[in-house]
Symmetry: C2
Subunit: 145 residues, 2 copies
């Protein structure tokens, strides 16, 4: 079934990017899709099968929103936590609006991961790039203002 | 892409049901899919759009495993927390093995929700039934021993 009716009241960048329920759903989407993408990436680059799940660091998400030039989706004077919530809400919006499936998000993140993601500092750098690329890709699915 | 290689080492009911990494991935799947199913269900039965996300109560999941007669997937002398982890691992296995998409899990849970799920006690009862039905449905995708 289509889930579009769950977002039919959200018709501007600011309403999407500051909706709390949408950000909560997006939090689950971001953590799940990144966890599976990371499991695939690590397994492909190892002789063992690695299954992992984690909470994506808010610095990764806030970096991505800034790098993609999309801070206008967030509330004024947003801190890193607010910016991360905005990324989560945007990704939930795109999923609920039938523009990307969860598998497509997993595959996109996995294809855009590179380098070392087992070292915490390098993971923040490399995962920020993957989420920046995702935000740049999904811009076309979002309202223009 | 297919994610089957992430579970190629898990070839028995016990190995699937007691794998910690798989349970962690499943925790994200269960919470996300139930949250969206609950949002759809509440929105369809209300004049407002409700977007919610939550952690599924472990009693719901442990009830479902017992009701579906699948405690043999769990470790011996498992408590409710272990049984819930086993349900999460089983659901992750079915998803990673390409047997159900995340949208299919959302739609299945939503179709199997009934009655009041805003009262905590009734939600435990009604959501336990939805997860029991899901486990009964996916039995055919699992190893026979």
């Amino acid at each position: 079934m289509s889930y579009k009716f769950l977002i039919s009241d959200l018709n501007s960048q600011k309403r999407i990017g500051t909706d709390k329920g949408l950000a909560k759903i997006g939090d689950g989407i971001v953590n799940l899709t990144y966890s599976i993408a990371k499991s695939i990436y690590l397994t492909e680059n190892s002789s063992n099968i690695l299954r992992t799940a984690l909470k994506v660091n808010k610095t990764i998400l806030s970096n991505a929103l800034k790098n993609a030039g999309m801070k206008n989706f967030a509330r004024n004077r947003a801190d890193a936590h607010d910016l991360a919530n905005t990324v989560e809400a945007i990704i939930a919006y795109v999923f609920l609006n039938d523009k990307m499936t969860l598998n497509e998000i997993i595959d996109f993140l996995k294809e855009n991961l590179s380098g070392n993601i087992q070292n915490r500092t390098l993971e923040i750098k490399n995962a920020s790039l993957a989420f920046t690329n995702l935000l740049n890709y999904i811009k076309k699915f979002l309202p223009e203002e």
